[in-house]
Amino acid sequence: MGHVDFVDATRLAAVPIKATRQEATMHFSIFRYNPERDEKPYMQDFHVDLEPTERMLLDAILRIRDFQDDSLTLRKSCREGVCGSDAININGRNGLACITPVRELKEPVELRPLPSFPVIRDLVVDMTQFFKQYHSIKPYLINDEPAPEKERLQSPEDRDKLDGSYECILCACCTSQCPSSWWNPDKFVGPAGLLQAYRFISDSRDRATQERLDDLHDPYRLFRCRTIMNCTEVCPKGLSPSRAIERIRLKMLKVEDDHGGLGIHRVPAIR
């Protein structure tokens, strides 16, 4: 039998928690806009006493909504960085509220909706254009060959080529922070859409590679990218849309590559 340490919950509760930053009041400044009531958007201040268990920014926002102002509007779902619903601008930088440690943030913590997207209310933005661009790259496998009895197989090496692009959760942190998307959101596909374009261009089971490349071969859809690389820097999943864009350009030039996947980088902490 292995040795097991049980934690005595009653004893834990009796130990007074030391007054650390964990108990400190944190100061938030949150973008508010209700189009039915407000003429203009404004920033509203909130002071929150965080419980020790409330470690992420989303916990703090929910505490504000539940205890201070229930009209505060935001999107959230999985609360663990998988669904991409709670992408917001945190101290000037896009990120997911649910995986951003709240105590590391500089105060006052400024929270705004994703830049350049039309605001619906408070922190909720209209993502119609974003998903329109995403759908424009045909984000599905195109293969007219007769389907095999079980499934379309792929070698492990070919599967590795999808690493770093299939993990995208479409939170729009990248596209919303991309200046090329700011100037031409209707014509430039944007980093999220182009990362997905690369995901299908590099898929060995897809048969529409050339059509996909031709579709991006105009001055706007791909080539508005000025390699600013904000997309790669802010991606909360550590993906590199800018590298995907570079690979698409090389494919257009028929430069053969055996690079494998795009790779995943460390995500810089938001301060």
């Binding site: 100037w183 071969h217 001055p219 706007y220 859809r221 791909l222 080539f223 508005r224 257009m252 030039l253």
Partner: protein, 112 residues
């Protein structure tokens, strides 16, 4: 947008011209540091030699093409009304062409 404006070609022109300009600048700097000309006549003679003047002409062609793509991109990003954009691109084209003619005149006609 017409096909002559294809993004890939413009992007490629910008990359290739940048590489050529970099090599040319390194070559010119290396020459002036390693073997500086002692007089205007010596400099002029070297500069006007057929291979150097040809390389210089290609440098300016690369510079003008690079500038065309770069400024065209800025105009496409920021100038959205079609009428303004056509004027801006026309002005840019005329200006760059004039500079190209001027460079050719300096390199070949003046001493021709």
């Amino acid at each position: 947008m017409r096909k002559t404006f294809t993004g890939l070609r413009a992007w490629l022109i910008q990359r290739v011209s940048a590489v050529y300009m970099l090599l040319f600048i390194v070559f010119i700097l290396a020459h002036f540091v390693g073997d500086p000309p002692h007089s205007y006549a010596a400099w002029n003679g070297w500069m006007m030699g057929s291979s150097v003047s040809m390389a210089t002409a290609v440098f300016f062609a690369a510079l003008l093409a690079h500038a065309w793509v770069g400024v065209r991109d800025v105009i496409m990003d920021y100038v959205h009304p079609v009428a303004f954009r056509v004027w801006a691109l026309a002005l840019l084209g005329i200006g760059l062409t004039a500079m190209g003619v001027w460079v050719m005149w300096i390199l070949w006609m003046r001493h021709g």
